[in-house]
């Protein structure tokens, strides 16, 4: 879902840059001097894993593929603000080093594929976990939040494309959302698998302070 330079109008990509800078700037401000010793290696491994996971495109439906985003997974371990920073670093690296996503459109990509999941997805997960209770709630929470993070990302993307005059909304929205409703299942699956593995092997890592 990485939007390349040229897909968005100047107004839209500029607005998305502003929104992302504001949110990530806030995240940096609130995270500064808050991370503990255990957070650092966790951030390293999660960043490495998410980067790798985003390379693993899986076929979905005829002639299309999808991959995990990882925002919810990262937020479950680190909390919404630190996760937002990690995902931002990820998208910057992908755009700058690997031409995956444009530079003008980096603000939109950070927002769509990162911030929606790390922040919106986190609170959805958190709410469900609280309501359904502990471990079971955690799994249901990550499954739903993960799926939603992908679907909402595709929704935001469709809206940005339409607002840019690139493609009409009545075409973009159903097209993007229908494919990503399936791709979202990949997100749920991998997130559940990783969380489940850590819960079994090192549950303490799920109890880091969430920032």
């Amino acid at each position: 879902m990485h939007i390349p330079d040229g897909f968005l109008s100047n107004e839209i990509w500029a607005i998305m840059w502003l929104i992302s800078i504001a949110i990530v700037g806030y995240a940096i401000w609130r995270t500064d001097e808050k991370l503990g010793d255990k957070h650092v290696p966790m951030m390293g491994v999660l960043a490495a894993f998410i980067f790798a996971a985003q390379m693993l495109n899986v076929p979905v439906a005829g002639g299309t593929s999808g991959h995990m985003l990882g925002g919810v997974l990262t937020a479950v371990f680190l909390g919404p603000l630190s996760a937002s920073i990690i995902m931002t670093v990820l998208f910057i690296v992908q755009a700058v080093f690997f031409q995956d996503g444009g530079i003008t459109t980096l603000g939109a990509n950070i927002f769509n594929m990162g911030l929606i999941g790390t922040i919106g997805g986190y609170y959805i997960y958190y709410g469900i976990k609280k309501a359904a209770g502990d471990d079971k709630g955690m799994f249901i929470g990550v499954a739903i939040a993960g799926w939603l993070s992908v679907v909402l990302a595709s929704t935001a993307c469709a809206i940005e494309l339409a607002a840019s005059g690139t493609v009409p909304l009545e075409i973009a929205l159903p097209a993007m959302v229908s494919i990503h409703a399936i791709i979202g299942l990949i997100e749920s699956g991998i997130t559940i698998a990783v969380v489940g593995f850590v819960l079994k092997t090192r549950p303490d890592l799920l109890n880091l302070e969430k920032i």
Binding site: M1, H2, I3, P4, D5, G6, F7, I28, T31, E33, K34, L35, G36, D37, H39, V40, P41, M42, M43, G44, V45, A47, A48, F49, I50, F51, A52, A53, M55, L56, N57, V58, P59, G63, T64, S65, G66, H67, S82, I85, I86, V89, V93, A95, F97, F98, Q99, G102, I103, C157, L161, T166, V167, I171, A175, I179, H180, I183, T201, R202
Partner: protein, 93 residues
């Protein structure tokens, strides 16, 4: 040792990026597919703001395509790992 767990995680990521990625689906992703179907894919071509060293996750100039892709994955994972650790250290208590 506690660190073993994190190293294990890093190794898994390295394996995913340098080996498993070679078997990833080459099909266009959701956005590309919609862009193709509705004919706005060209809007994203030739408008790159900058040129990246490893476009499309391949190291240019290496003849063996498998090696070129594998190395790019490896570099990406290590780069992300180091940057994330660096950011974490800066933001630490």
């Amino acid at each position: 040792m506690q660190e073993k767990y994190f190293i294990f995680g890093l190794i898994i990521a390295l394996f995913m990026a340098s080996v498993i990625s070679l078997f990833a689906s080459p099909e266009p992703d959701g956005l590309e597919r919609v862009a193709e179907d509705h004919e706005f894919l060209e809007k994203g071509e030739g408008h790159e703001v900058m040129e990246s060293p490893m476009p499309d996750y391949v190291i240019p100039g290496i003849e063996n395509e498998t090696v070129a892709a594998s190395l790019a994955g490896l570099i990406g994972v290590l780069l992300m790992f180091l940057l994330a650790i660096g950011v974490g250290r800066v933001l630490k208590k």
